[in-house]
Symmetry: C2
C-alpha cells in the first residue's frame, strides 16, 4: 500500500446548508456549485474508514445536493459526491473499521463523512461494501444508489402484494435494473418513457409493458395497461402531472411512491375522492432511510444479491463517459447531457 | 306498534350512477337532484330491518351523493339519505335482525338499503345502533357519521403516536366533537378556521390552539403552533391549498389524512422532497371503510362510548333547523346556509 499523502485534489462544496430552491438535478456549470481545490486528506476515527477512490459516480441526488436541494445540509469546503468504489487505506480504532483496511469496496458516503469526488473519501465502516473480485470497477462504483434502490423498491412492491408496478423515467439506469429484476421475480413492470426509441431496449431487459407519454394514444394505452395488470404501486422519479394522471388511472389501494423529482412541475393532487374511497396513498422512498431501518442481515442479503446480479450479467452498468477529476469543472455539465446513454464517472 | 302502510313519502334520487363532476357538497335547489314522491315501503329480507324514521340528518356526504360525487353509485327512484334515528318496525328472518324489532335505534343506511330521507328506511341489522333511553332524538339522528368519525379519527391519531393534530373546517360539527374528545384524551387539537368569531367557541370546547387563515399573521401563527405542538396528523375536510401549506409546515413523519373535499380547489402537491426525506404521507379516511375493518368488539365499544359522551353532556348536537320532509324540496337549500350554526334535520 502506498503512503497516504497530506493533501488531495477534491471538488469541494461552495455553499453551506440548503438553498431553499427546488430547480431539480440539472446544472449549467459545475463551477457554480463546487470548486477544484487541494485540501487536507481527512483522518478516520472510531468506526470511520478512509477510502482511496478508484472511480466516483454521479447520481441525480449529487446534483440535488450540491445545489442545496437534498435531504441533508451542505458543508462548505467539504468534498461533494455520495458514491464511489476504491480501496480502504486507513481506519479508526474500532475493530469493525480496522478489519476493512486493504479491502476493495463500494462506498456510500455517510452524513458525517467527506465526499467521493476526491482522491480520498471518509465514511463509516457500515457504509462500505466489500466487493467480490469479479465485480468490474464501473459496476462497483454504481453498486449502491441505483442497484440497492432497485432492489429495495421492487421488494417493497412485492411485500405489499403488488404483482405489477408502474415506473416513470423508464429509460433511466435505475428503471433498467428494475425491469429485469421484476421479470426475474415474476412481476410485471410497466415502464413509462418519453421517446419511442426506448421501447425495444426496455422490452429486451424485461419490462412487461412500455408506455410512451409522447404518443397520442398514451391515455388509451395507460387505461388498457391498468386494466390488464392492475398495478398497485407507482415508483416515481419524475413527480409531474403525468405521474398524477397515471396514479388517478391506477386501481383501488394504489400507492404513489415518490423517490425523485426530475420534473420542476408542481403536480396537482389528483382526484382526491380516490384517497378517501379507494384507499390510495401518496408517500416517499429514500434509500438512506431504508438502509437505516434494514437489519444487518437484510443489508448483507441485499448487497450479496445485487453483486450476484452484476457478476451473472443479469445487470450491467452502462457507461456514457469517464472524466478525470481535475477536468470535471469544465467538462462535467456537458458530459451529463449524455446521461441517457449511461453513467458519467469521475476518475481521481 | 301501528300498522306499516304500503306506500310512503320519500325524497328519491333523480339520477343513476356517478356524475363525473367534483363540485362539492353545495346545492342551489334540492329539486335538481331529488324529488318528493309516494313510493312503496320496502320489505326487509334476511338480515335487513325496516326503520320508521323519527328524524333524518343531512351531512355533506349526502349532498356529494345526490350529486353523483360520492364513493358509491346513485340508484334512480330510491330514497336518498344516509343517517337518521327511528324505531325498527319489521325485520327479515335472520334472528340478529328479528330481535331488533321494537327498538329505538340510530340508523346508517347500508349500500343495499334504501335512504333515510323517507318515512321508512331499509338497512342491515349491523348498520343500526340500539339507543340508550337518555339519548335525545337530535343526538341520536346524528350519532353515526360525525361522532363515529370523530371517535375513529382521534383514536387513529392517538394510535399513530400523535399527541397533537391539526383539523381543518375547525368550526364544523365534526371538529367541535373532536376538540373536546382530544382534550379529554390528553391531546392538543389545533383547529383551523376562517373567521375570528369561531375562536372562543372552539377554545371553550377544548381546542388547544385556534388558527385563522383569514388573519395576516396566519403563517407566523402556523409555524409557531407547529414548533410548539409538533402535530403529526392533519385531519382535513377541505383539501385546498391552505391544507397543502399546513402540511408543508408540519414536522417529519406527518400524515395528511383527507376525509372530505369542501373546497373545489385542486391543491398543488406541496414540497415533494418532504415525502422523500421526511417520510410524510398523504392518505384518506372513509368511515364506511373503517366500519368494515373494525371488529364487532371495536364497533360496540365505539358506539357505547359515543353515546356516553352525549348522555354526560360532553358532546351535544347543535340544531340549526328541523324541516318537515314534504317541505324539504323548497326549503332545504336555504336552510343549509345556516349549517355553521348546527345540523339541519328532516322530520317525516
Amino acid at each position: 500500500m502506498s503512503a497516504i499523502p497530506d493533501t488531495m485534489q477534491a471538488l469541494v462544496l461552495r455553499y453551506d446548508g440548503y438553498s431553499g430552491t427546488a430547480e431539480g438535478p440539472t446544472i449549467e456549470d459545475l463551477k457554480d456549485w463546487v470548486s477544484l481545490e487541494e485540501i487536507a486528506v481527512p483522518k478516520p476515527e472510531g468506526r470511520q474508514v478512509l477510502v482511496r477512490i478508484g472511480l466516483a459516480n454521479i447520481n441525480p441526488s449529487d446534483l440535488h445536493y450540491i445545489k442545496g436541494e437534498y435531504g441533508q445540509p451542505r458543508r462548505k469546503g467539504v468534498a461533494a459526491g455520495f458514491e464511489a468504489m476504491g480501496e480502504v487505506v486507513a481506519a479508526g480504532e474500532d475493530p469493525a473499521a480496522a478489519k476493512l483496511v486493504g479491502q476493495r469496496v463500494a462506498v456510500s458516503v455517510a452524513r458525517t463523512g467527506t465526499g467521493a469526488w476526491a482522491q480520498y473519501a471518509l465514511t463509516d465502516a457500515g457504509a462500505v461494501v466489500p466487493l467480490a473480485p469479479q465485480m468490474r470497477d464501473e459496476d462497483a462504483a454504481a453498486l449502491i444508489v441505483n442497484p440497492l434502490s432497485a432492489w429495495a423498491m421492487v421488494h417493497l412492491a412485492k411485500e405489499r402484494g403488488a404483482n405489477s408496478f408502474v415506473m416513470t423515467a423508464g429509460a433511466s439506469q435505475l428503471c433498467k435494473l428494475m425491469a429485469s429484476l421484476a421479470r426475474d421475480m415474476g412481476m410485471h413492470a410497466i415502464a413509462v418513457v418519453r421517446r419511442e426509441e426506448h421501447r425495444s431496449t426496455l422490452e429486451g431487459l424485461g419490462a412487461g409493458t412500455v408506455l410512451n407519454t409522447a404518443r397520442e394514444d398514451f391515455e388509451d394505452m395507460l387505461l388498457q395497461a391498468m386494466k390488464q395488470n392492475q398495478p398497485r404501486m407507482l415508483l416515481d422519479a419524475v413527480a409531474d402531472n403525468h405521474s398524477a394522471t397515471i396514479f388517478s388511472a391506477m386501481p383501488a389501494g394504489a400507492h404513489w411512491v415518490i423517490y425523485g423529482k426530475l420534473s420542476q412541475e408542481a403536480p396537482r393532487l389528483p382526484a382526491l375522492g380516490q384517497m378517501v374511497f379507494m384507499k390510495k396513498v401518496i408517500e416517499g422512498f429514500w434509500l438512506t432511510e431504508w438502509l437505516g431501518r434494514a437489519t444487518p442481515e437484510q443489508r448483507v442479503e441485499a448487497f450479496t444479491e445485487v453483486q450476484k446480479r452484476f457478476i451473472s450479467g443479469a445487470w450491467k452498468t452502462d457507461v456514457a463517459e469517464t472524466i478525470p477529476l481535475a477536468e470535471a469543472p469544465d467538462r462535467l455539465a456537458g458530459a451529463l447531457e449524455g446521461m441517457n446513454r449511461g453513467k458519467v464517472f469521475l476518475r481521481p
